[in-house]
């Protein structure tokens, strides 16, 4: 951790650039910043460990749950049809709550409303499996989170969080991921941080995890207090990141170092 801190300090001492959005045509998936071997793990379904979660998610999709004793399939049918393109447009505005929710929260909303089932805990194996299965149905499609009257406040709030210096290292997300992407930090290239592949199998975790887990990890790394799972700030950040990645191709579930 000291290594990374020293490297970050050196990077910033070199002069502070004004945070600016990456031009749309200069955006690269985080897959472009990982080794060829890690990328090969991601593109080969027979080797991608996250496909095990997708398999579990398929089982859960077809498993009856809750007081209504219904499975997701009972209402939605075949996920390959019903969920095609869905993950690509999340976080999405939930009218019943008056604010955007991410895919995990939407799953739990549906469980509560339609299955009368208790929510699945964040980062639980079951929730990750369902998320991976649903996100997988959007693989190859462009991210379609739009700025509308309903999503704009959240996107702007997320942008503000992304550009705000925070933590003991007094560092903003934008300083690394907008201003210094492609440069090396402690020996590894800094990606642009587009969430095109979530939930991901992260080699560091040796398991599948959500975007919120990754954000919490990043915040800990810059010595900031991480937001709680499901916090409004988390969803604001998620919707901003997905909007920032609009038009880029969904790769879920991806593999990252």
């Amino acid at each position: 951790m000291k290594r990374a801190a020293a490297a970050i300090a050196a990077l910033l001492a070199a002069g502070s650039a004004i945070a600016g959005e990456i031009p749309l045509d200069q955006r690269h998936s985080d897959s472009d910043f990982i080794s060829a071997d890690t990328r090969a793990m991601q593109t080969d379904d027979s080797q991608n460990p996250a496909m095990l979660a997708v398999l579990d998610g398929e089982t859960l999709w077809n498993t009856k749950a809750g007081e209504t004793n219904k499975s997701c399939a009972d209402c939605h049918g075949d996920a390959a049809v019903a969920m095609k393109g869905v993950a690509a447009r999340y976080p999405s505005y939930a009218p019943e709550l008056g604010r955007p929710v991410d895919l995990e929260q939407q799953i739990n909303l549906s469980r509560a409303t339609d299955q009368k089932a208790p929510p699945l805990p964040f980062e639980s194996k079951e929730l990750l499996a369902l998320t991976a299965y649903i996100a997988h149905q959007s693989r190859g499609m462009p991210i379609a989170v739009e700025e509308t009257a309903q999503t704009r406040p959240s996107i702007e709030a997320g942008r503000a969080l992304f550009e705000r210096r925070q933590g003991q290292l007094d560092l903003s997300c934008a300083q690394c991921h907008d201003d210094n992407w492609g440069k090396k930090l402690a020996g590894n290239p800094i990606p642009q941080a587009h969430p095109t592949g979530y939930p991901i199998y992260r080699l560091e975790w040796q398991e599948v995890g959500s975007l919120q887990r990754r954000l919490r990890g990043c915040m800990s790394a810059i010595r900031a207090e991480p937001y709680d799972y499901g916090a409004p700030e988390m969803v604001d950040l998620e919707i901003y990141l997905m909007w920032r990645a609009r038009g880029m191709t969904v790769e879920a579930p991806a593999v990252r170092p």
């Binding site: 379904d45 027979s46 080797q47 460990p49 496909m51 095990l52 398999l55 579990d56 040796q206 398991e207």
Partner: protein, 107 residues
């Protein structure tokens, strides 16, 4: 607990073809060397043996150690000799076993 496995094996083959079989099984492969949040090592919990039989005859066997990465991926080759069943079994250090099969039609 040994989770499910994804098996990629051809459904059909010509007699004499050398087939590539890929297996990916869900398992934490806890090495026993990681320190947990309590400050104590998390106990070892690994798959120790993987066997593939082809119509009952052993065609591949591996002994796994903690140095095998989580969610073990093992791919290997075997000659398509006859139609039948490929049986895959993973056994952990506690003796628990998971078995999955794949049918193969050989022309």
């Amino acid at each position: 607990m040994i989770g499910r496995a994804l098996i990629h094996a051809p459904a059909t083959a010509k007699r004499g073809d050398i087939m590539e079989i890929k297996t990916l099984v869900s398992h934490v492969m806890e090495s026993g060397y990681r320190i947990g949040v309590t400050g104590q090592p998390i106990p070892r919990d690994i798959i120790e043996d993987f066997v593939c039989t082809y119509n009952g005859e052993e065609v591949f066997r591996a002994k796994l150690y903690p140095a095998i990465a989580a969610n073990p991926f093992i791919s290997f080759f075997t000659v398509a000799t006859e139609s039948g069943t490929l049986t895959f079994s993973w056994t952990d250090q506690h003796g628990a076993t998971r078995v999955q099969t794949a049918a193969i039609t050989v022309e």
